[in-house]
């Protein structure tokens, strides 16, 4: 964006009675030029100038020029500051000039614009209605000659576009029964699609008519775009590891929190050893971050989800991390997040396991290169070796999933990370 400089720079008294105000605008110095820079002001508000006297200087990509006063008068206001770059046509100064303002040129009569309207329709009238508008003799006789249903009367608008005819045949739609929503009641493609029968179920006596289609909310569509883009940009692979959460469970009971902050803290610490996962890959630009700005996905019910960011998570202990996450989640649900709260994430954790699902293939939050998914903790029988003896015990097992971008790293690295993370969590 060009530097603002649009506020009033200096100002003298405005036009007196018997005078009017003239605006001086940034000229276009070259037909492809779109902006210019104010290089210098030679006059100050209140000063008198002669017509054509240079009151300042401007510069564009192509050429430098002085600014001539359009008439003799007094500078009132220098609107744009020295050094500012503004669009062509922007008012850069005003001056007071004796006499009445010139009468503005008369706008051309409304008819003049019509001549320049779409030449296609000018020429052929409206080609659509010219052809399709006459439903009578021509159409009916054409169709009869072509061997179409002779039962069609002359009154209905019977010309169907090729795609409508084809879709109707493919989908088994009787066109006479379709209400057209197009011009003059014409049957459109959408109408055929809407009228199409669904495949038969066991009870074939009732045809299902779907309700009218609506549209996804803006937020949902935006999330969808992001997800689609992520999947088509990154070479997304998901790796999983099973973790015995006994130690985590014990610790969380001690602290009085959920498991999430404990997992988050362990993840942040492990990222310290596996820096390639704490990165951005944006086209060719690959950034390895020194801080961990941890994004934590927060579900917003039917509205979708949002990922607020805990900045500098590597410096927070488990409790501070937990508090930060709780605060962000609360503000997310009450709609109180600021744009800064959702920016600059370097790694994301998502934790949807509260409902019991135990594995997922999360989508990476662009332009990050990895996301950790913490699903449900499920009590399972597992093989445990104690003092050399192998038995079956029931343990709280959580499957951690890491989706990672194969453009930035390999499976061995991802697996290594997960193993290190597990080691931390098991030893927690």
């Amino acid at each position: 964006m060009p530097a603002s400089g649009r506020g009033t720079v200096s100002h003298a008294d405005g036009a007196a009675p018997g005078e009017h105000l003239l605006e001086i605008v940034m000229p276009q110095l070259g037909i492809t030029i779109a902006e210019g820079t104010l290089v210098a002001w030679h006059k100050q508000p209140g000063e008198e100038v002669d017509a054509d006297e240079a009151i300042g200087e401007i510069s564009s990509d192509k050429v430098d020029s002085d600014i001539p006063a359009p008439a003799a008068g007094r500078i009132v206001e220098l609107v744009v500051a020295v050094g500012a770059t503004v669009d062509v046509g922007t008012v850069i100064a005003t001056m007071a000039v004796a006499g009445e303002a010139d009468v503005a040129p008369v706008a051309p009569a409304a008819g003049a614009g019509d001549r320049a309207s779409d030449p296609a329709t000018d020429r052929a009238g409206d080609p659509a209605t010219d052809r399709a508008g006459d439903p009578t003799a021509d159409r009916a006789s054409d169709q009869a000659a072509a061997g179409h249903a002779a039962g069609r009367g002359a009154g209905a608008s019977e010309h169907h576009s090729p795609v409508v005819a084809r879709l109707a045949a493919e989908l088994g739609v009787a066109l006479e029964s379709v209400t057209g929503t197009g011009r003059d009641g014409r049957v459109r493609r959408e109408d055929v699609l809407a009228a199409a029968p669904r495949p038969a179920t066991a009870d074939t006596s009732a045809l299902y008519v779907p309700p009218a289609a609506g549209q996804l909310s803006r937020m949902r569509r935006s999330i969808g775009e992001h997800m689609k883009r992520s999947l088509s940009t990154a070479a997304t692979v998901t790796s999983w590891i099973e973790v015995d959460f006994s130690a985590v469970e014990a610790r969380r009971r001690e602290l009085g929190t959920t498991a999430l902050p404990i997992v988050a803290a362990a993840t942040v610490a492990t990222l310290g050893e596996f820096g390639e996962l704490n990165a951005w890959l944006d086209g060719e630009a690959h950034t390895l971050h020194t801080e961990v700005n941890l994004g934590v996905a927060v579900a917003l019910g039917a509205e979708g989800l949002i990922v607020p960011v805990v900045r500098g998570a590597q410096a927070l202990d488990v409790q501070a991390l937990g508090a930060a996450i709780a605060d962000l989640a609360a503000r997310a649900r009450s709609g109180e997040l600021s744009p800064d709260d959702v920016r600059d994430g370097t790694f994301t954790i998502t934790n949807p396991g509260q409902f019991g699902t135990f594995m997922a293939t999360p989508v990476i939050n662009q332009p990050q290169v990895a996301i950790l998914d913490v699903e449900a903790i499920v009590r399972r029988p597992v093989a445990v070796t104690t003092d050399g003896v192998e038995t079956i015990e029931v343990r709280p097992i959580c499957i951690l999933g890491l989706s990672w971008d194969h453009r930035a790293l390999d499976g061995a690295y991802a697996a290594h990370f997960l193993a290190a993370l597990r080691a931390r969590l098991v030893g927690a």
């Binding site: 779109a34 902006e35 001549r115 320049a116 779409d118 030449p119 090729p162 795609v163 084809r166 086209g283």
Partner: protein, 321 residues
């Protein structure tokens, strides 16, 4: 990636070509010491020398014919017509010598003729033309017309590498008004169309500056999903992409900034009418500048060139059909 204007992207392509291929020469009026009427070649004569960035006299025929001569003995000349309109002064060499050379004699003429084209700048009748149809009509010439900074650079590098004569339309309205992310270093854009906006209720087919107007018009039509297909190359014309878009959308608006009769959109419309007939749910609608020279006064020029409102209204009317 860096953000460049459309003009900077073109300059970037020329610099890369001059650096990486010693066969590349630039020829044009005022392109050397002065850096070109639009400053596309600013600084290049200092960097590459007066033997590679060459100021010619006002001689479009000799420039283009000379470029053909240099090309058939191994050089890769890139000519600049100061304004697209002046290519009419070199028309004979371009159409009759360059265009027909390979077909007749097996000699290839890998020249590029760059044309700063288009209106919207109060250039008047002789500085605003869109002559691409003249050259689509001449066998043996390729015609490229990018709309974005990224495509301008990639298609120019592609044109220089192509062994055929390429007429390269640089829309001058876009020079400094369009900017975008452009990959660094050398890359080539394929000679195919590009969907710049997804949609399936209607497709607007356009190229050059009209792509931007089409996208803006599509954005205003919130009640429907309007696709925009950027042709990018007029010869070769991406017939597959055009017909696929028609199959998906069933309704088509073709936009030309060029004059209505026999503009590139006329060829597109004819192609669709013949080969896409079965997929159409409405007439093929064209929005174009009427058959008159481009006027100078802004109010007249605005009325002549297709703008966002005209494209949007044509789309809405067709959507309702």
């Amino acid at each position: 990636m860096t953000e460049l204007t459309y003009l900077e992207a073109i300059s970037d392509a020329l610099r890369i070509a001059l650096r990486e291929d010693e066969r590349v020469l630039l020829l044009g009026e005022d392109i050397g010491a002065f850096g070109g009427a639009f400053k596309v070649t600013a600084g290049m004569q200092e960097e590459f020398g007066a033997d590679r960035v060459i100021d010619t006299p006002i001689s479009e025929e000799a420039m283009i014919g000379g470029a053909v001569g240099a090309a058939i003995v191994g050089m890769r000349p890139v000519c600049e017509m100061q304004f697209a309109d002046f290519v009419a002064c070199g028309f004979d060499q371009l159409v009759n010598v360059a265009g027909k050379l390979h077909w007749r004699s097996g000699l290839a003429a890998p020249i590029v003729v760059r044309l700063p084209s288009g209106g919207g700048v109060s250039g008047g009748p002789y500085h605003s033309q869109n002559p691409e149809a003249w050259f689509m009509h001449a066998p043996g010439l390729k015609v490229f017309a990018p709309s974005s900074a990224q495509d301008a650079k990639g298609l120019l590098l592609e044109a220089i590498a192509d062994p055929n004569p390429v007429v390269f339309l640089e829309h001058k309205y876009l020079y400094r008004r369009v900017r975008g992310e452009v990959p660094e270093g050398a890359y080539r854009t394929p000679q195919r169309a590009n969907t710049v906006r997804d949609g399936d209720d209607l497709v607007v087919i356009a190229y050059g500056a009209m792509v931007h107007a089409a996208v803006a018009a599509a954005q205003q039509i919130e009640e429907a999903s309007v696709r925009v297909l950027d042709l990018r190359t007029l010869v070769p014309l991406d017939e597959r992409a055009i017909l696929d878009a028609v199959r998906d959308c069933a309704k088509v608006v073709v936009v030309d900034e060029a004059n209505y009769t026999c503009a590139p959109g006329a060829q597109v419309a004819s192609l669709i009418a013949q080969y896409g007939y079965g997929d159409l749910d409405g007439p093929v609608v064209r929005v174009a500048t009427p058959d008159a020279p481009i006027p100078f006064a802004p109010v007249l020029e605005r009325a002549a060139l297709p703008g966002i409102e005209r494209i949007r209204d044509a789309c809405r009317e067709l959507l309702a059909y």
